[in-house]
């Protein structure tokens, strides 16, 4: 094996070699919503293709890559297809490996643990997260910004509901990948996803499932993230039949589709298999519609809804299928919010030192929402929903929730 092919082999999906395609055109820098507002982040090209060449051996070039939120816009706008965000994600993990991961980041990186610990003491947890009496000391001690949106823990997990929900027999079957947030914080969303899929005449299989490892990955703990992603892929592929795996948490679906393989380099056969048959919920519904199989027995929904496509949804490169499907709903006035990032970046904007940056990045989106003054804001990613709702005061829901309503659901 020659040097180059050995390098490719080790690189999995060839992230690092792609930096040779960089022509320093700066398109990524001018598109980066973070570099525009903070001097802490000099820009994706600078910390990516440029500094990557100096990252040899034990020492990273500098700290600034920690101020990348991992939104991935740089990779999407790059005309040379350089995997900029992926290079930076790996560099961040390397940095964390050298300097250690703070306790706060270890906690934020495990929403499943937060959910499991919070649930038995749910009233206390939910009260504590809503009062400055706790949030101010929490900021001082742990570095979780006092104003950052923290979701409320639900009483009954989605998993508990799913275990008692019989699979409705049908010829066409799908696997539902609900993710941690649906499980612990928004179980109602999961029930609506199941109802909408069953309404299409599908049998919905819901295997036991854990976290995809995305928050661990973005907080730089790659070894744990690899374990999580592999375990999840095996859980999802435990249902035989090569069924479509449908995700309603858009960033976690992207983790399965690409990031676990491309960034973490996981090549477990179960993950490779699942990544090829994972669909975002609206991607799947749009496919059904194009095949003439989507039910269109909608009741009119006389509302104005503004849709924000989050970064990780856009990184799936499937367009905006939520808009395509919701356009079928009579009475609904849809507004497309043409903004790339709300600023939260998963757990980025929760951190004390990054909260203000996060708010500055989201400012243009928040202004657009206030100007549009919709009845509802729609967004496919949970952390973005919580952040936007907290920042604007508008109700923010998953677009699937609105579709559920259009099918007459309550």
């Amino acid at each position: 094996m020659d040097g180059m092919s050995m390098l490719m082999e080790n690189e999995g999906m060839a992230v690092r070699p792609s930096l040779d395609g960089c022509i320093k055109c700066t398109i990524c820098e001018s598109a980066c919503p973070y570099a525009a507002v903070t001097e802490h982040f000099p820009g994706p090209k600078t910390v990516g293709p440029q500094e990557e060449r100096f990252r040899h051996g034990p020492l990273s070039a500098d700290w600034s890559v920690d101020y990348c939120s991992g939104c991935g816009i740089c990779s999407r706008v790059c005309p040379q297809d350089v995997r900029i965000a992926e290079i930076n994600s790996r560099a961040r993990a390397q940095l964390k490996e050298q300097r250690g991961i703070p306790l706060r980041d270890q906690l934020l990186a495990r929403p499943d643990v937060m959910g499991r610990l919070g649930r038995p003491i749910r009233p206390l947890f939910n009260w504590a997260m809503g009062t400055p009496l706790v949030r101010v000391p929490l900021e001082r001690i742990l570095g979780i910004h006092r104003k950052a949106a923290i979701p409320k823990v639900a009483g009954r997990t989605f998993g508990q509901w799913a275990r008692r929900h019989p699979v409705r027999p049908a010829q066409d079957r799908v696997v539902y990948f609900h993710g941690c947030s649906t499980n612990y914080f928004e179980p109602g969303l999961g029930r609506m996803v199941v109802a909408v899929l069953e309404h299409q005449g599908l049998a919905v299989e819901i295997p036991e499932q854990g976290c995809c490892g995305l928050p661990l990955q973005s907080n730089g703990n790659f070894p744990a993230a690899r374990t999580y992603a592999t375990r999840l892929a095996r859980q999802l592929s435990s249902i035989p039949g090569d069924l479509p795996v449908i995700g309603s948490s858009t960033s976690c679906a992207l983790m399965l589709k690409r990031e676990a393989r491309e960034i973490l380099g996981v090549e477990d056969p179960a993950l490779v298999d699942v990544s090829q048959r994972t669909y975002d919920i609206f991607e799947y519904l749009r496919d059904l519609h194009e095949q003439g199989r989507l039910k269109t027995d909608f009741v009119p929904v006389e509302l104005t809804a503004a849709y924000h496509a989050p970064c990780q949804q856009q990184n799936q490169l499937i367009g905006k299928p939520a808009l395509d499907v919701l356009a079928l709903v009579p009475g609904l006035r849809l507004v497309e919010l043409d903004r790339d990032c709300c600023g939260v970046g998963g757990t980025y904007g929760i951190k004390r030192e990054k909260y203000e940056i996060s708010m500055a990045v989201g400012d243009s989106l928040f202004s657009d929402i206030r100007r549009t003054a919709p009845d509802l804001v729609l967004c496919d990613s949970e952390t973005c929903r919580w952040h936007i709702a907290k920042a604007t005061g508008f109700p923010v829901i998953h677009p699937l929730e609105l579709l559920h309503r259009a099918y007459g659901g309550h």
């Binding site: 570099a35 790059c78 992207l254 367009g319």
Partner: protein
């Protein structure tokens, strides 16, 4: 995925075609590997600047130019089509206030202090036309690496060759109010949207104005609120202010990209960035689908019409294989302009290379020709720098040919749909 029209490429040609098609009632998806040429472009609309001598009037020079270059892409839309497409563009990019016309080129400064001819400039460069001479103050920002006012001013003073009118220049440097880190243009632009920053810059500038009739600044005067930034600076200084575009990223180009992208979405079109068109399927004389990349698996997009606007050799629209073969990678179209065995590159970097003019040739509707001589497919069109026969960087014709061919392809498609419906 299903759409009425799939446009491949998000540069000037692709976005133009996409907007025109969406406004014509088609469901349009514009797909591109990344943001196209616009973030790197000066934001001016060049139509014909050199042929090969400096062109004072594109309208006057174009008939002779087309006679001398029968293979030039301007032949596709013709002169009338070019004028229509420019009028359409000025209306579409209305928020940026483009001005000028084809009867007279404007001569605007480059960041090194040269003068270059262009047909249309945005409002922020309305006072940049120094073809008639003038007395200008060039103001830079201390520490901003991409703009050197003394160099610019000195060269500009020499740029207007005798007997052309004299340009008198002075150069100053301003201190940036507050820190902007290492001052990338996009961050300066954003900070300038703060009126307080503008007030402090204008306060430094005002005592230095002297007899200057206009003030030239680096092209960082805001992004979203550029109109407000520009108007406010002119108001504070009491005289015209113009931007001088420089090294990328280019704010005037980014603003144009923002504007066209918005126009596409407003017309109901979809923009899919980060996805690359890989290959196409054909059924007899029709393109059936194009396969594009997604996060995990490629997907086939079926459309009634396809517009190929992937750019030329420099942007991957045309590829040269290691064996020297030229190839159009998505549809496998034959590439014209280089004789078999002909050396593609000349000796001098800045000289004309035979490879510069290679590309696709089309029929009158803008459909690329296949190997058999007729159109490769009845529903495939091509526009922009992927077309053979032009030398945009030397002719200063890039935006003109992208606008005219993108617009023309869309007109042809909309016209055919109308015929089919009738």
């Amino acid at each position: 995925m299903i759409t009425d029209a799939l446009v491949i490429g998000a540069g000037t040609a692709g976005l133009t075609a996409g907007i025109r098609l969406a406004r014509g009632g088609l469901r349009v998806t514009v797909v591109a590997t990344g943001e196209g040429c616009l973030p790197l472009a000066s934001g001016t609309i060049d139509v014909l600047g050199f042929a090969p001598d400096a062109v004072q009037s594109p309208l006057g020079a174009l008939p002779g130019f087309l006679d001398a270059h029968p293979e030039h892409p301007y032949r596709i839309s013709g002169l009338a089509g070019l004028e229509q497409s420019l009028a359409w563009f000025v209306k579409t990019a209305e928020p940026l206030g483009y001005q000028g016309d084809l009867s007279r080129n404007q001569w605007v400064p480059t960041v090194l202090g040269g003068l270059r001819p262009t047909a249309l400039v945005p409002r922020s460069m309305a006072a940049a036309d120094l073809g008639g001479g003038g007395e200008v103050l060039i103001a830079g920002i201390r520490g901003f690496r991409d703009f050197h006012p003394a160099l610019l001013a000195a060269n500009l003073g020499r740029a207007a060759a005798a007997p052309a009118p004299v340009i008198q220049t002075r150069a100053i440097e301003l201190d940036w109010p507050g820190s902007a880190g290492d001052m990338p243009p996009f961050r300066l632009a954003r900070r300038l949207e703060d009126p307080e920053i503008r007030r402090r810059l204008a306060d430094q500038l005002r005592p230095q104005l002297g007899d200057a009739t206009a003030v030239g600044l680096p092209a960082v005067l805001g992004r979203e609120r550029a109109a407000e930034v520009h108007a406010d600076l002119e108001h504070r200084l009491g005289r015209p202010v113009f931007e001088i575009p420089g090294l990328p990223p280019s704010l005037p180009g980014l603003r144009l990209f923002d504007c066209l992208r918005r126009a596409l979405l407003d017309a109901g079109g979809r923009l899919l960035l980060g996805s690359t068109a890989l290959s196409a399927t054909h059924h007899h004389d029709t393109v059936g689908s194009v396969t594009i990349t997604q996060a995990s698996r490629p997907v086939e997009v079926s459309a009634g019409f396809y517009v190929l606007a992937t750019g030329g050799f420099t942007t991957g629209g045309i590829i040269r294989e290691p064996d020297g073969q030229l190839r159009e990678p998505v549809f496998g179209l034959p590439v014209h302009g280089l004789a078999p065995g002909q050396e593609p590159f000349g000796d001098q970097y800045l000289a004309e290379h035979p490879l510069d003019r290679v590309g696709l040739t089309t029929d009158a509707q803008g459909r690329p020709l296949g190997t058999a001589g007729g159109p490769h497919a009845v529903n495939l069109y091509a526009a922009g720098a992927v077309l053979a026969g032009a030398l945009p960087w030397r002719e200063k014709s890039g935006e003109g040919l992208s606008l005219s061919t993108g617009w023309h392809a869309a007109e042809a498609i909309v016209g055919r749909r109308r015929e089919d419906a009738a």
